[in-house]
Amino acid sequence: MNLQALFEPRTMAVIGISLTNNRHPANVIYHKNHLRYPVKVVPVNPRGGELQGERVFTHISEIPEKVDLAVIAVRAEYVPGILSDCIHAGVGGAVVISGGFAESGRQDLQDRIVTIAREAGFPFIGPNCLGIYSPSLMDTFFLPSERMVRPDLGNVAIVSQSGGILVDQMIKFAGEGIGLSRAVSIGNKALIKELDLLNYFAQDTETKVIAFYVEGFGKHEGRDFVLAASKCLKPVILLKAGKSPGGSRAVSSHTASLAGDYETFSTILFQYGVVEAKNELELVSFCESLSCYQRSIEGKIGIVTGSGGHGALAVDICSSHGLSVPPLSEQAQREIRKNLSSSVQPIASVTNPLDLTGSAVDDDFVFATSYLSRRPEIDCIAILLLPYLPGITSDLGDRLSQVYQQEHKPLVAYVPHVEKYRMLIEGFELNRIPVSPSIEGAVLMTEAMRRSKPC
C-alpha cells in the first residue's frame, strides 16, 4: 500500500461537510486547509449546494480532478459505502475521522471497512482519529487552527494511538523547539498500524526520528514491530501507556507471573534497540536529543556548570541512569585552570563536574567546553547554565553551538525556560543544540544518545 497520497495530497476531499453547522468537524477541517494550506480542498455533501461561495459536490465521483486524499467525517454506518465510492473514484487514500466503530462495540462495522479497503489495496488511517498533520502541507485535525500549537517544521515524526496525547506532545515540542516532520493520530488503527507507519517513515527523507505513543499492540504485532524497528536506521522512540497489570488474572506459572505484560514489553523493546521513554518528560527529551544527534554514545559525560549544586544533582541523575562522569587527569586539570579567567582561576573546581563558579564569564564556558570536547574519555558534554550570573551574556548559546560545529562532540544544555532567557536558549536551539528546562531533562538527552542503537 502506498501511503504517499495520505501525507502529501495535492487535492483533498472533505466528505460530510455540514451546510448548516460551521463547527462540524468536517467544516473545521475544510476551512483550515482551504484558508491556510497549499492543498486544494473540495467539500462534499450529498445535498450539494454552496459553502461560502464554493460549490459543494454531492458525490466524490463528481469531482473533476484526481482526488489524492478523502477525509471522511460522516456517521459510522455510512462509512463503508463512502469508502467503496472513494475506491471506485480512484482516490489515493482516506482518513476516517468518524467514531462509532470497535471503540463503541461495533467491531463488525470496523471489520467491514477493513475488508473493503484491503481488497482494493486502499490505505486509510483511523477510524476514530484526528488523522494527519503535515506541517505547511495539510492538516486533518478537527481542531480550529487558533487553538492549536504548531511546532516548527523539523525531522521528528510522531505516531499516536491517542489524539489528545498527540496534540499535547505537539504543544511540548513547540515549547522545546523540537521540529516535526509529521504527526499522525491512528485511532482504532483498523488497517494502518504502527508497523506500516514505521516502515513508511523509515523511508521518508524528511524524517530522522520516529516516535510512538502506544497503548497496546494487536496479536503478534509487537513482534513484527520490534523486528522492523531493529532494521530501521533511524532512532525509534516509544512511550507505552498501561504499565500496571490489568485486573487479577489467575496466573498458573512463575514465568507468567514474572514475565508480566509490561515487563515483557519493556525488555523486548530494549532487546531490539527501541528507545523506551518511561514518561512524557523522557519522550520529549529523547525526541529533542535524537532530532539533533543520531549517533550513539557510550555515555561518558562531561559536565560544565557555574554552580556546584547543579553539578552534584547532575552526577546523581547520571549515576541513576548508568551514565559515567569520568574524572579528569591531573594534567588536564592543570591545563584547564591555567586557561580560565583570572578571577575564576583560584576558585574553580576543575575536576568533572567542572564548576566554573558564579564568577565565570562566557570565555570560561567556551574554553572548558572546547577542552572537554577534545578529551577522549568524554563522549558528550552537558552544560548547566545559570543565565542570571553577572558574567554570562545572551551570546553564550550561540558561541557554545559553534564549539560543537568545530569539535563535533555532542552538547546538551540546561537553561531555565523563562522568557527573559529566550535569546540564550535560541542561541542553542536555532543551531541545533538541544536545551532542556530541567537538569534531569538535560541528562535524559545524553541518555537518549546512549540508548539509541549505533547506526
Binding site: 497496546g216 514465568t255 514474572l258 514475565a259 514489553f265 523486548i268
Partner: protein
C-alpha cells in the same frame, strides 16, 4: 518438527490443561534437555526397587492430575534415605486426592535457576532465565528475550542477572557450566518455537546448574486453552 512422541504427550494432556511432571520431564528429554534419572510407579515395590538401583538419597513427588502446585501441598519430599522412609512417603501420597503414582528420582544439587517460556499476545514466544527455586517470585531476578534466541543472547541474559557473579564463580564457589546452560537454553528456545501454538507457559524450575551440566529438576507445562479468546 515436533516428534510424534511430544505431540502425543501434549494431546493426551489437553483436557487437563497441563502436563503431569513425569511426562513433562520426558518431553524435556526428547527435546534434548537433561533430566534426573526417574521412574513413575504406582506400586511401592517398583518404587523401592528403582531407589535401590540408583542409590539413596532420592526425591519423591506425588503424581496427581488434581495437583498442579505439588510442593505447596506437601507433595514433594527430598533427601529420602531408606526403604522405610520411602514406603512411609508412598503411603501418605496414596491418600492424596487424584493419586496417580509416585515419581522417584535421583537427588541432585546445584545452583537453582529457572528457565521459563510464555506465549505473549503481543510478542509471541518469550523466553525467561533467572534465579529459581521456591523463592523465584520473591527475588524476581530474571531476564527475558523474545524467542528464538541464540548463544549470544544467553550470555547477555546471564550478564543481565543481579546474581550473575554467583554463576561465574563468586568467592571461591565453582562457576556453573555456562556452556551447558547455553546449550540448554538454545534447545529450550527451539522447543518453544515448535510448541508456540500449543502452550501458554512453561516453568523449568529448578533448573539445577553445576560446573558440569544443567538438569531440569521440575517441569511445568501449561497448555493453551482451546478456543480461548486471544489473550
Amino acid at each position: 518438527m515436533l516428534s510424534t512422541e511430544i505431540k502425543d504427550i501434549i494431546s493426551a494432556s489437553k483436557e487437563r490443561g497441563w502436563v503431569l511432571e513425569p511426562e513433562a520431564k520426558h518431553l524435556c528429554s526428547l527435546a534434548g534437555l537433561s533430566v534426573p534419572r526417574f521412574v513413575w510407579e504406582t506400586g511401592l515395590e517398583e518404587a523401592i526397587g528403582f531407589a535401590r538401583k540408583i542409590g539413596y538419597p532420592v526425591v519423591a513427588k506425588v503424581v496427581s492430575p488434581l495437583m498442579l502446585h505439588k510442593s505447596d501441598m506437601g507433595g514433594v519430599v527430598v533427601d529420602i534415605e531408606s526403604d522405610e522412609k520411602l514406603s512411609e512417603v508412598f503411603h501418605r501420597f496414596s491418600q492424596i486426592n487424584g493419586f496417580a503414582g509416585i515419581l522417584v528420582e535421583e537427588m541432585l544439587s546445584g545452583v537453582e535457576m529457572i528457565a521459563g517460556a510464555k506465549v505473549d499476545y503481543q510478542f509471541g514466544p518469550v523466553i525467561l532465565l533467572g534465579m529459581g527455586g521456591t523463592g523465584v517470585e520473591i527475588y524476581r531476578d530474571v531476564t527475558m528475550r523474545m524467542a528464538p534466541i541464540g548463544r549470544e543472547d544467553v550470555m547477555s541474559m546471564v550478564r543481565g542477572l543481579k546474581a550473575h557473579q554467583m554463576l561465574e564463580g563468586y568467592r571461591g564457589s565453582e562457576p556453573i557450566s555456562l556452556r551447558d546452560l547455553t546449550r540448554t537454553m538454545v534447545s529450550f528456545s527451539d522447543l518453544l518455537m515448535e510448541l508456540e501454538g500449543l502452550i501458554e507457559s512453561i516453568d523449568l524450575n529448578p533448573l539445577l546448574c553445576t560446573a558440569d551440566r544443567c538438569v531440569v529438576a521440575d517441569a511445568r507445562v501449561i497448555l493453551k486453552v482451546e478456543n480461548a479468546p486471544d489473550s
